[in-house]
């Protein structure tokens, strides 16, 4: 019995030693074949002093690399954002550290989410998310010129509908607002919903009724700021309105800007690229997007 014990331990020691031989040997072999790393060479470190959330930044052979920290749901998220030489286009986004919920927020580290940033023009934004903190759009500060105004979305949404908003201003007041969404075949959402071909919910208001309620609310308040659009592009400021109103708000704002005679740079209100959030993980997705934008803004400030 004693003999077997000793022999067993000896055998274990020998086999363990052999195993480590294999491990070390394979490591030595692997090192020979290992090529240069894919990381681009750093040519210049950039000063990140005073830039909040920016961990490090450098100029590389292919462009720029910015490491940024942003606040997620479960803790800090660390991102490595690579930009092209012009510092405008995102070439790659990596999540180096995150503590988001497994299976939910943690999906921001997955390629399905991250790959949509590759080649995207910065800044990036999620549907219904506004890039700048929305300034209070109150009508007291500006006078609206009378007339009819119209704004149209740049392109169709995921379902193939293109939003458009028309607005009439009389005596400096908004007197009529119409929100319409036109499908690729020219069909109007208002007509479709009235005929029951475009159904949102069985018992709620139809799309047309909701759009009209929204328009009426805008006429009543003469301002968009009461809408408080949340991250999903929805609002609870108007009862019965459960549809995503982000598109409407953007377009109505454009109409107002036109009426106020302001630069209609907002024709493309969000120059940049729209990306999709991880389903069910708005906070994590927003944090990632904000981190990327922070990296972009930092780059613009030092470039």
């Amino acid at each position: 019995m004693k003999n077997k014990n000793v022999r067993g331990i000896l055998a274990l020691a020998v086999v363990t030693a052999l195993s480590f031989g294999v491990i070390l040997g394979s490591k030595a072999l692997a090192q020979d074949t290992e090529g240069e790393s894919a990381e681009a060479k750093v040519t210049e470190e950039l000063d990140t002093k005073g830039a909040e959330g920016i961990e490090s930044a450098s100029k590389t052979e292919d462009g720029y690399l910015v490491s940024v920290k942003t606040k997620g749901y479960g803790g800090d998220i660390f991102l490595n954002v690579s930009f092209d030489k012009a510092g405008k286009k995102i070439t790659k986004v990596e999540v180096t550290e995150q503590k988001e919920t497994e299976g939910l927020g943690a999906k921001i580290a997955e390629s399905e989410f991250l790959s949509q940033f590759e080649g995207a023009e910065a800044p990036v934004y999620l549907p219904g998310m506004s890039l700048e903190e929305k300034e209070e759009i109150s009508l007291e500060d500006r006078t609206l010129a009378d007339g009819d105004y119209e704004a149209k979305a740049d392109g169709p949404d995921n379902n193939g509908f293109t939003d458009q908003v028309t607005m009439t201003v009389k005596d400096g007041k908004i007197t009529a607002v119409n929100w319409e969404s036109v499908g690729a075949d020219g069909s109007k959402k208002s007509v479709l919903s009235e005929n029951g071909e475009y159904v949102m919910t069985e018992d709620g208001l139809t799309w047309k009724e909701q759009a009209e309620a929204l328009s009426a609310a805008l006429i009543e308040k003469q301002s968009l700021s009461f809408l408080n659009v949340n991250e999903q592009g929805k609002t609870d400021a108007v009862s019965g309105v459960s549809i995503a109103v982000g598109g409407f708000v953007n377009l109505a704002e454009q109409c107002l800007n036109q009426a106020a005679g302001e630069e209609t740079e907002t024709q493309e209100p969000q120059n940049g690229t729209q990306v999709d959030a991880v389903a069910g993980a708005t906070i994590s997705s927003t944090a990632a997007v904000e981190g990327i934008n922070a990296a972009y803004e930092f780059l613009q400030s030092v470039k």
Partner: protein, 315 residues
């Protein structure tokens, strides 16, 4: 307490005591420990020392306080301490490790009556506690020192593949242990070396471990991510903690009958595979084995231990 205990015969005399068995298990884990130190640095050794010390001490103090026979020296707490630490990444905060140790020994093992009476594997339960209570402490896995000098954290291979990425490590690297993961489960080679030692000493029955591992591998292959028969066998085999789970976590002394043991192992395998295939958790080992643990009583009804001296009555 042990004065009036009657144990029905027949008895097999053996020199194999709990202490000897557990010592063998502890010895078999030494190669894994060496591997952990090689891959993740000397902190792995400190953590292992701490974990073992806390486990043994907890058991000792409890048994003293409860005025029970002190069995803290029987190496079973040592094994629990080692298995627990091997289930954590090297970056685990000390207090999380200590909490898991105390929880495993005190609540899972001793409160249920100590060695042999606990209905689930204490080490796995400790891991589950940490997974649920402090996920950020154990889900930040670290790339081995041999890959990157900085402590770069990374998702486990299974986790990252589940997220739609292609694995960055070769199967050989996964087998040898050069991959991010918990300290003890990266090197399949060293785990198998230790397991080989246990088989040689006759401490474990390899059949159950083999059944478990084979069930998971076959099922994940059949119900692969891209349809039937598209699973990555080697990835599922070497990419995570399957070998660790099968060889060290699964084995249970509850079943004497061989078929019962195999049924138990297969059950654990089916649950693990189902979790890997359908849920958000990439590993599923912890849940798979723990669920099978809980079902052990029910499964043992199907395959009863042999009862000597009674003829089966035909109903």
């Amino acid at each position: 307490m042990s004065e009036a205990r009657v144990i029905n015969g027949p008895h097999i005399r053996t020199q194999r005591t709990t202490r000897a068995v557990m010592m063998d298990v502890a010895i078999s884990l030494v190669p894994v420990l060496l591997g952990a130190i090689y891959y993740f640095g000397i902190r792995a050794l400190y953590l292992a020392g701490l974990s073992v010390a806390v486990c043994v001490l907890t058991e000792y103090i409890w048994q003293k306080l409860a005025k029970k026979p002190v069995t803290a020296g029987d190496f079973s707490a040592v094994v629990t301490g080692l298995l627990l630490v091997f289930n954590m990444p090297v970056t685990v905060p000390l207090w999380v490790l200590v909490a898991a140790d105390v929880f495993s020994i005190l609540l899972v093992k001793q409160m249920f009556g100590g060695l042999g009476n606990n209905f689930v594997n204490p080490a796995l339960m400790g891991r589950l506690l940490v997974m649920v209570a402090w996920p950020q402490a154990v889900m930040q896995y670290v790339v081995p020192k041999t890959v990157s000098v900085d402590a770069v954290s990374a998702a486990t291979i299974l986790g990252s593949v589940k997220g739609g990425n292609t694995p960055e490590y070769s199967y050989l690297q996964m087998f040898l242990g050069e991959m991010p993961g918990a300290m003890g489960e990266t090197s399949k080679l060293l785990l198998l070396v230790g397991f080989g030692y246990l088989c040689y000493k006759g401490v474990v029955n390899a059949e159950a471990a083999f059944t478990y591992i084979a069930t998971v591998t076959v099922l994940t292959f059949i119900f692969g991510p891209e349809g039937l028969f598209t699973g990555d066998i080697l990835l599922n085999l070497f990419g995570g903690g399957l070998i660790m789970g099968g060889c060290y976590m699964l084995t249970d002394y509850v079943f004497v009958s061989r078929r019962g043991k195999l049924l138990y192992a297969a059950t654990a395998g089916v649950i693990t595979a189902a979790i890997r295939i359908f849920s958000v958790y990439p590993e599923g080992i912890c849940f798979g084995i723990l669920t099978a643990n809980c079902m052990a009583g029910m499964l043992s009804l199907l395959y009863k231990k042999h009862v000597y001296g009674i003829r089966k009555i035909k109903a």
